[in-house]
Symmetry: C2
Subunit: 306 residues, 2 copies
């Protein structure tokens, strides 16, 4: 029997690890963040669900960290000529998935069902589950007002000072039954190197999600997204500070301490190990930077063993 592994995943950083995990002989279920879902041009765009899907289908754009390799932007260019805002860079092939997904949802399918249909057509063998089928979106409080995560990070390029984060819909959103079952059956739960505030945070903000993790079948291990005070990618540092967390691997471990058994941190962060162990999280040292596919495969193995 293959080891049942559930990976909680966000965007770019997570995708690198998912690539490694997908090469392992395991039964992999990805629970994807939906907090960055965004309505653009009347379409529901799910960047984190899609990057997991494209990564596992082998068509993700690895250079850029989002979207499909070789995608074009003909629709977006014309939308610009027609007077629409085009800061949200949705590629043509990428748009096709959002068109179909939006259609499926309008016909009454859940996001879970819509994702399964798309992933199947792309030949994905692993399972991809949106964390919830309910509306749950991440907003960032800034001196310029409340911004959707995509407005904050993509449109405003992360420049406004974040004061805090709101997970809209979190009080009503529920993890899906599929997610609950996958976690209960899991031999191992892996928290990908994702932004703890904007990628894993929305899941944790749902009532009952942390309890599902505490009761997960196997150990819960994380790969820290931070090396020193820098994240692999994205705005993790600023947002962790805004949410009262130290922007380093110790802050990540603290945020996850209620359910985490172990965390893999970068060797250079050895001074943080003692502090992390004090939160009853085991600390494993490694080279956590993923420059190549083999780095991802090695880290996947370490997380499966940790």
């Amino acid at each position: 029997m293959k080891m049942k592994v559930v990976a909680l995943a966000g965007g770019t950083g997570s995708a690198k690890l998912l690539r490694g995990l997908s090469r392992a002989k395991i039964d992999l279920t990805v629970v994807a963040n939906v907090g960055d879902n965004f309505w653009a041009y009347g379409l529901l765009v799910c960047p984190d669900v899609d990057i997991a899907m494209y990564t596992l289908a082998g068509i993700a754009d690895r250079e850029r960290g989002w979207g499909i390799a070789g995608d074009t932007f003909a629709v977006l260019s014309q939308l610009g000529r027609l007077g629409a805002e085009t800061w949200f860079r949705l590629g043509d092939m990428d748009m096709a998935a959002s068109l179909l997904r939006t259609g499926y949802l309008r016909r009454g399918l859940t996001l879970t069902q819509a994702t399964a249909k798309l992933a199947e057509r792309l030949g994905v063998n692993d399972k991809i589950l949106p964390a919830t089928d309910d509306s749950l979106q991440t907003y960032v409080r800034t001196p310029r007002g409340l911004l959707h995560l995509q407005e904050f990070w993509v449109r405003e390029k992360g420049r406004p000072r974040p004061i805090g984060v709101e997970y809209r819909g979190a009080s009503r959103a529920k993890p899906t039954r599929d997610v609950g079952e996958a976690l209960a059956r899991a031999d191992r739960v892996i928290v990908c190197p994702a932004n703890p505030i904007t990628s894993i945070g929305p899941m944790l903000a749902m009532r009952g999600f942390e309890r599902l993790l505490s009761r997960a079948g196997g150990r819960v291990v994380a790969l820290s997204p931070m090396v020193g005070k820098k994240p692999f990618s994205g705005p993790a540092g600023k947002l962790m500070k805004a949410e009262g967390l130290r922007p380093d691997s110790a802050g990540v471990a603290r945020r996850y301490s209620r359910f985490l058994d172990a965390i893999v941190i970068d060797r250079g962060d050895i001074p943080l190990a003692e502090e992390i162990e004090r939160t009853r999280v085991s600390c494993v040292l490694s080279d956590t930077r993923m420059r190549s596919l083999s780095d991802g495969e090695r880290l996947a193995r370490e997380l499966l063993r940790a």
Copy 2:
């Protein structure tokens, strides 16, 4: 003061004349067919409105007779990979207009307002008015059941034998106030060389539309879409027969005889002239084939004089 001209227009054949009319020093309003509007991938596609818009913006694909010159099909290809039907060939740039239009409609704009916004952004100086803001779609009765015009003509390539035509929504659809005013003020109304059943038919099926034409400010003149028994393009012949009309210029004149003052027919159809005059429609002979832009300009001048 420029002559105020209203052109009733359908698709490919109409576009050739519109190109000629747009070069004339006139105040041009196009009343565009909506009977071929079609929902594809959750988007309202309006082929006849758009071909008028692209033609007057100078970006239409003249070779193909639909869509935008140089358009690509990246979204459509990916939709196909994702398991969607792709018989409706919607280009990437073309799709951008439908995306924005659908968004405008969802936000409560009328199709007239949505069209005006798109046309303005494309630099169109002439006015383009959808014949109605209400739902009005052409269906073809066949031995294989009732098919939307696009299903009949594009998906089934016009192969099923048409038994008749239904204009869905015609009993409730009303010509817009803008259309009514344009016709009342018109110094000349031109019926483009369009399919009398599927392009002009939906307009005529609306209660009150023929009365608007009868009361139009100026003379109503048509350019016949038929040369002998053949239409310029599209399925006019078969559908005219299915609707009990002879598939030639005399059949066209008969269909329009309640409001038409004159019709320009091809010189080769001179044997039909006497029959047409008997329906009290004046007959003008010309070379009606439009092979080049200058043919369209010449015919535009003849229609403005007729």
